[in-house]
Symmetry: C2
Subunit: 356 residues, 2 copies
């Protein structure tokens, strides 16, 4: 068991945002919230998936909403815990552990908050190994978990239990509609499962991976080494382009931050122009009219000097950044997973070809 | 106890649509649905509010959505019953009776359907004595009932329990968002209460009133008498204008049918021009720049020849109609009720002055 210390938080926050491929919400606010809970004496225990008992009762926890909103509207911080509690009341049962929804900006911190507030162990792993914009895209559901009942809780005291849904896409639609109505951010509890299903479907050890990536970045900064080289050494993958942001189009549509960012290369990359489409998360790299990298591969933008992850709503003209492509977990590359998280699931008429 | 017979349905349907002030959805489809249930041997028992025991457990039932949708999309017909069942499962208790949400087009029939499908007695009364577009506008809630938990069920198998809400307006917002997402029509179960609260807050005997109004209209048609005079003799109120529809503006906004209809008078009413604003239901009559009649008074449009109620989505250029103003129940005229259903609650900067 790993008991999270305050000193772990900056590394997890950076690493999770790098895995988060531009999405998952505001990493800084999430970190402050968890830090405050630890300072007040709450504990956060992280357990590995193999330590789960098959009979454990797990709930998946995370924040739902546009990451843009997470920068513009302060959350209370207990929305995710309230969603978990609403689901416990509805089921008349207590959960024995909480599994993170996704790695990403603030969303890795959301599950840690629940661990602290409800005093439940948090499983070292998540349902995406990255961030994705929609709920049906978690491996817990792709590999046979149940999308209902789920619960959504807001900052005002509204609690909605989505008791039965036709399928995971309907969970996404209904939970999204409720989230938008309550202001664009809500806590979500979903994919109730036993320990056996969690072990079988989780992307394992991603909290630890985030911690290792973040630690490498922080150490490189201290040692005046290249933080981007340091993170790539940990998570594999490579630098796709070093360049400057020359154009950003961004709009809030159906509760999502959608848009595209255009970059031109520097140095060795001079003369190259690259466009990245995003929906909360970076989805596709376009170069010379071709989709060169697509979901589910991880496309992450970090500042070239410090290796700071740049979430999609922070993209600005003039930023000097590195575009990184990181390999995605094997669980996202199966035919079953690609039907849900591959480029066609996002409306792109291209095949997924692993970049790594 | 009144056991509804197939022969009662046409009268209830017409009378409820006249009380429905243009809203409440498609009365014809609702009637067909109830008729089919009776023909299959289901029973519908109607009990008077005074026959309730204080310890009874009641649920309020009705359809939610734009009446426009009720003309364009066939409902399954069991959405309301499914919402009631979802709420029973959530509470772990069985209801002992069902109270109608509102009188209006199809919505009086919705509670009768639940009575037949769940085999619960239906209370002779409703929460509006008419129809209104939003959920916080029912007397069960205005006079202290609880807006949560409530349940929404659609035609596809999605069931949402709104477990806790800040207030009745948040129930309306969240239930509306879910209803829009699932296609603009859903069954609703809300305002769980005991028999004592139902007796104290219901507008009593409106199912019976609808039946009497409809019976008077049908009899007048048979006897070649004036059906409009006949209905006014039953429910009070008066003919405001006899005229022709010369303009209709209608749009679907946030799941509501919103718009205005303009009429010019005939005969004794020659030279008069009247505009009626509506949001699902008719809200305000404007004449000579003045709001002459407003909610909560009932503004109903019927065809001049047959006394057929014209719901807001059936308003058409050229229809020859009578605009009627019917008195509203006393329960809607209190300060507490006017704050929720008076003209200001709909955004009109005018005082309510009873027309009768």
């Amino acid at each position: 068991m790993w008991q999270i210390a305050e000193s772990d938080l900056p590394a997890i926050s950076i690493g999770a945002a790098i895995l988060g491929t531009g999405g998952g919400g505001n990493p800084y606010l999430g970190m402050l919230r968890v830090r405050e809970l630890l300072r007040r004496g709450r504990r956060i225990r992280v357990i590995d998936p193999e330590d789960l008992h098959d009979s454990d009762l797990l709930v998946v926890s995370g924040a739902m909403g546009s990451p843009t909103v997470s920068y513009e509207k302060l959350a209370r911080g207990d929305e995710e815990a309230e969603a978990v509690r609403a689901l416990e009341r509805h089921l008349g049962r207590r959960f024995t552990a909480v599994a993170p929804l996704e790695m990403g900006g603030g969303n890795s911190m959301a599950a840690l908050c629940v661990g602290a507030l409800v005093d439940l162990p948090v499983v070292n792993g998540d349902g995406m190994g990255r961030a994705f914009p929609e709920l049906q895209m978690i491996t817990y559901l792709i590999y046979g978990g149940t999308p209902s009942p789920s619960a959504v809780a807001d900052d005002k005291g509204n609690r909605v239990v989505i008791d039965e849904v036709v399928d995971a896409r309907w969970l996404e639609r209904i939970a999204r509609a409720v989230t938008i109505e309550v202001g664009g951010h809500a806590g979500l509890a979903t994919a109730v499962m036993d320990g056996a299903h969690c072990k079988a479907s989780i992307i394992p050890r991603t909290l630890e991976l985030a911690h290792r990536i973040g630690t490498a970045v922080l150490r490189a900064r201290d040692e005046k080494a290249d933080p981007v080289d340091a993170m790539l050494a940990v998570c594999g993958g490579r630098r796709y382009l070093r360049g400057k942001i020359v154009d950003v189009e961004r709009r809030l549509a159906r509760g999502f931050a959608r848009g595209r960012v255009e970059l031109v290369g520097f140095g060795d990359d001079s003369g190259r122009t690259v466009v990245i489409d995003f929906q909360n998360e970076n989805l596709v790299i376009w170069e010379d009219g071709e989709a060169t990298v697509t979901v589910p591969d991880l496309i992450t933008i970090v500042t070239s000097d410090r290796g700071d992850p740049v979430t999609t709503e922070l993209l600005r003209y003039g930023y000097r950044v590195d575009v990184l492509v990181l390999p995605c977990p094997e669980q996202l590359k199966t035919e079953r997973a690609l039907a849900v998280v591959g480029p066609r699931a996002f409306g792109y008429d291209v095949e997924y070809r692993p970049f790594a």
